[in-house]
């Protein structure tokens, strides 16, 4: 047993005082009585009754010495461990993810986060006083709440003041931060107070021997929306909503999911999910003009945060395409674009030469996508979506270094939206430019020599898809690949270029404008879209042509008014790991206690509390014996 506060031993002097008081002879009060024999006869009965009567006084002294000893040890804050406990440097990572908001005791409103704070309290109480502590709040980003300190109260207070985060947590980043901060510390220890984050903590613990996982939580009754994603199908003028629901518990569960569009129920999908299973479905949403889609599970469970999800349906507007090309080379492009209706608006699309394009300048008709075929402006426009075929401006980070004769073209990125449904294995390319990329770009197709033949350059406010060959020097115009590539480009580049903000954000993720705001715009109005479609707006200042919105702590749709335009974004959880709330981690709390060499318990509580309780009980017992001494 080690005393964390050895100065308490001075309290032992009180014991000496107690002994002195008991050893001092009592000055008895004199009382005259008419007949002493009468009293002696009565006292004789008492004296003869038992030995205990004579020992009472010594029992009382013994009890008082026990009381003083218990109080002294309680003040000393003892730690019960085998062997000597070395002081450690301990970083506590408090998992503050959505799954930690799981209600473990619904009646008392006790969440896992509260249990984690209680576990921290216990840890602080049962570790030696020489330890150094640091507290990291692992929410969306790892954040040091309390830097190295021996002041346990500040650690405790900081843990209690942590605001619940309803989104995902980056425990890996928190561990890396902790490891960095422990680099030059003796006896480094990382304690992760977590429900296991669907096995993430176990993975971290496997890599790091200093990491101790203190498992929190037991509940596993949860159905959660792990994914709600909406993709527009511009060709069909419809959106498709993909939804995935996970069952965290081991029992089969049946329920239903309700879809609401702008506050009106549009569909109800019943489902049954096996234990630990997943249910997924894609449903069409016919609302070309766009809206806010809300999906929720009609069943209460331990974690409410993942019972609803939001997605934004962007308006499906046909793209306006501008083709900059000599008239005799425009035929294949125009045919392909006309075939894309309703993706492309033929009325708003037009073909012009490079001279006409440059003459018109900014006064020209607006376009969502501009295709330059075999001709390119001198300088890249400031913003917009572009396709450059066989020529691009000099300020694009791709330099032509030579000519490739009969290169073999192959798709380099199958997973990219631009290469969707695209096959070029048998395409013939007579000649292509050999390109050297001077900055990072996404290579979608390359030659057998590794030279990029189709690549995407993403710059702020600009997206440029470049083809390093003349289309007319290939057989692509006679293949499906050509209109498919154009279609993909229209769908992807236009949709990306049109958005001011992404359609979905994680909880806690700041929202910033995806492209530069119009010059002269100083403020942007932002607000959360309530259930009654009302919006309470706040004004955001525009700095360096961008804005930032931070109030994303809760899920829900947001609206941004940017000049004349309106943009929508949905803040939602969409994290399967958070929905799978069943605690993971083979190490029980007892193992963590052993690893941390926590003080043993005394009567199921921390030693000083137990000792103080014993002292109080002994005081009561002593009072009873004292009282009994006079009342027997």
């Amino acid at each position: 047993m080690n005393l964390l506060a050895p100065w308490a031993l001075w309290f032992g002097l009180v014991g000496a005082a107690v002994i002195a008081l008991y050893l001092l002879k009592i000055k008895r009060q004199r009382q005259t009585v008419p007949s002493l024999e009468f009293w002696q006869a009565l006292a004789g009965q008492v004296r003869a009754r038992s030995l205990f009567q004579r020992l009472k006084r010594w029992v009382s002294l013994f009890l008082w010495l026990l009381i003083v000893t218990c109080l002294m040890l309680a003040l000393g804050n003892p730690v019960l461990t085998l062997g000597k406990v070395k002081p450690r440097s301990i970083v506590v990572i408090l998992d503050n993810s959505a799954s930690m908001q799981t209600l473990e005791d619904a009646a008392q409103g006790i969440t896992r986060l509260k249990q984690a704070v209680a576990a921290l309290d216990e840890m602080l109480a049962r570790r030696p006083v020489d330890d150094e502590w640091m507290l990291i709040d692992a929410a969306r980003q790892a954040r040091v709440l309390v830097s190295w300190t021996r002041d346990r109260r500040s650690v405790r207070d900081a843990a209690r003041s942590v605001q619940p985060h309803l989104g995902s947590a980056d425990l890996s980043a928190a561990r890396e931060l902790a490891a960095d901060l422990l680099a030059d510390k003796p006896e480094p220890t990382i304690v992760v107070l977590s429900d296991g984050a669907a096995g993430q903590v176990d993975l971290l613990a496997a890599k790091d021997s200093t990491l101790v996982h203190w498992a929190i939580g037991k509940a596993d009754d949860n159905l959660g929306i792990a994914l709600l994603r909406v993709r527009p199908h511009r060709q069909q003028a419809v959106h498709y909503a993909q939804i995935r629901v996970v069952n965290a518990c081991s029992n089969e569960v049946s329920s239903q999911i309700v879809f609401e569009l702008d506050g009106s129920t549009t569909a109800v999908e019943p489902f049954t999910i096996a234990g630990r299973g997943t249910w997924e479905k894609t449903v069409p949403v016919n609302r070309p003009q766009g809206g806010v889609l809300r999906a929720y599970i009609d069943r209460p469970d331990a974690l409410a945060a993942d019972n609803e999800a939001f997605a934004i349906l962007e308006p499906l507007r046909p793209a306006r395409v501008r083709l900059v090309c000599s008239p005799r080379e425009a035929f294949f492009f125009e045919q392909a674009l006309l075939a894309m209706e309703p993706l492309v608006d033929p009325e708003a699309s037009h073909t012009l030469t490079l001279e006409e394009y440059e003459r018109a300048g900014n006064a020209g008709e607006p376009a969502d996508l501009t295709i330059f075929n075999n001709s390119a402006p001198k300088n890249l426009p400031a913003s917009g979506a572009f396709i450059f075929v066989n020529a691009w401006p000099a300020d694009l980070p791709a330099r032509i270094t030579g000519i490739l004769e009969h290169p073999t073209i192959s798709i380099a990125r199958r997973d990219h939206p631009l290469t969707q449904y695209l096959s070029m294995n048998v395409a013939t390319v007579t000649r292509a430019a050999e390109v050297l990329l001077t900055e990072r770009a996404t290579i979608l197709a390359d030659s057998n020599t590794g030279s990029p033949l189709i690549f995407l350059v993403q710059q702020p406010d600009r997206m440029s898809l470049c083809l390093a060959f003349d289309v007319l020097e290939t057989d692509l115009p006679f293949r499906n690949a050509f209109p498919v590539l154009l279609r993909n480009a229209v769908v992807h580049l236009v949709s990306q270029q049109q958005a001011w903000v992404r359609d979905q954000y994680a909880i806690g993720e700041p929202i910033e404008s995806l492209r530069s705001l119009p010059a002269g715009l100083e403020q942007v109005a932002a607000g959360r879209l309530e259930k009654n479609q009302q919006v309470r707006e706040t004004t955001l200042d525009v700095r360096n042509g961008a804005f930032r919105y931070d109030d994303t702590a809760a899920a829900g749709p947001l609206r941004f008014r940017i000049g004349e335009e309106t943009a929508y974004a949905a803040v939602t959880l969409n994290d399967e790991n958070e929905s799978r709330i069943a605690p993971t981690g083979a190490r029980a709390a007892e193992d963590a206690e052993r690893q941390l060499a926590l003080s043993g318990r005394l009567f199921s509580t921390v030693p000083w509390v137990a000792l103080a309780t014993i002292a109080a009980a002994l005081i009561g017992l002593e009072w009873l014996t004292y009282h009994f001494r006079w009342t027997e």
Binding site: Q31, V33, L36, F38, Q45, W630, T631
Partner: protein, 293 residues
């Protein structure tokens, strides 16, 4: 300075008590009491066979003439009634608030006054370990002042030995009388032996147990040194609630035993609480009867 033991108020109460006593007791029984002894008087009581030495004047010659047997006539003897007040003057009486001794002296003075006024003689004899000199056979109410002076001069000290007192008393007083014992009667076994001795000598007895409120419910508790008022001996005791409970039971039993013993042998008994004024106590005693049988 404490109030005098026998003041004018006391004397007024004596007159009042005497009137009550006359009405309640002596009005019925007259001052002269018929003696249980047979002797010379004009009232015939019985016959007895003649034995040599009998006064020939008492022979009933008419019986001899009819039956031929010598029988003598016996007559009821008329004698005086003596009141003896035995007053406990041991140290144990010097206790309580008011003092048991003072209370007992007031009662003794009153009884003596009633006796002197209505009977033939009244005596007050103090005792402790043995009889002490007293005022004996005072007659006439005019002697009351001397008696009260005598009572005032008494002090309570020393140990009690009621057996020795009884032995001395019967040795000195042969003629039966009414004996009133005023005491706290600690050590009842000895007291009973003493009373038995007095009964044996045909004395009519009346015992008055004097007790202070303290004795019924002593307001003490804790670690005490108890000091005996008679012997000044002491003992260190831890007085607990339990012990007090037993004490109260034992003290009640002391009074109950004395009362039971008195009833068994037709002895008058009364408990004189010092908290009750002596005149109220005596009125009660006189009303119940038994003081003068």
């Amino acid at each position: 300075m404490s109030a005098p033991l026998f003041d004018k108020e006391y004397l007024k109460k004596l007159e009042y008590l005497e009137l009550i006593a006359r009405r309640l007791v002596f009005g019925r029984q007259q001052a002269l009491r018929a003696s249980v002894k047979k002797g010379a008087s004009i009232e015939f009581k019985d016959f007895r066979e003649y034995t040599p030495g009998d006064d020939p004047r008492t022979v009933d010659w008419s019986v001899y003439a009819r039956l031929g047997n010598l029988v003598v006539k016996l007559f009821r003897q008329e004698e005086e009634l003596d009141l003896w007040v035995l007053l406990d003057c041991s140290g144990s009486m010097n206790f309580g608030e008011p003092l048991k001794f003072d209370h007992a002296r007031r009662i003794a003075g009153a009884l003596a006054y009633i006796g002197m006024a209505n009977m033939d003689s009244a005596s007050v004899t103090p005792f402790a370990a043995d009889l002490r000199p007293g005022r004996e056979r005072a007659r006439g109410r005019g002697r009351i002042f001397g008696l009260l002076d005598f009572l005032s001069g008494l002090s309570a000290e020393g140990e009690t030995n009621l057996t020795a007192v009884a032995r001395s008393f019967v040795a000195r007083v042969r003629r039966p009388g009414l004996v009133v014992i005023l005491s706290d009667f600690y050590g009842l076994q000895n007291a009973q032996r003493a009373i038995d001795q007095l009964r044996f000598f045909k004395h009519e007895l009346f015992v008055i147990q004097v007790a202070a409120p303290w004795e019924f419910d002593p307001p003490i508790r804790g670690e005490l040194r108890l000091v005996d008022t008679e012997t000044r001996a002491h003992d260190d005791l831890t007085v607990t609630d339990g012990m007090l409970k037993r004490y109260r039971a034992a003290f009640e039993k002391l009074g109950a035993d004395l009362r039971t013993y008195s009833l068994k042998y037709s002895i008058g008994h009364a408990l004189a609480r010092t908290a009750v004024p002596f005149d109220e106590f005596l009125v009660g005693v006189l009303q119940r009867g038994g003081l003068v049988a």
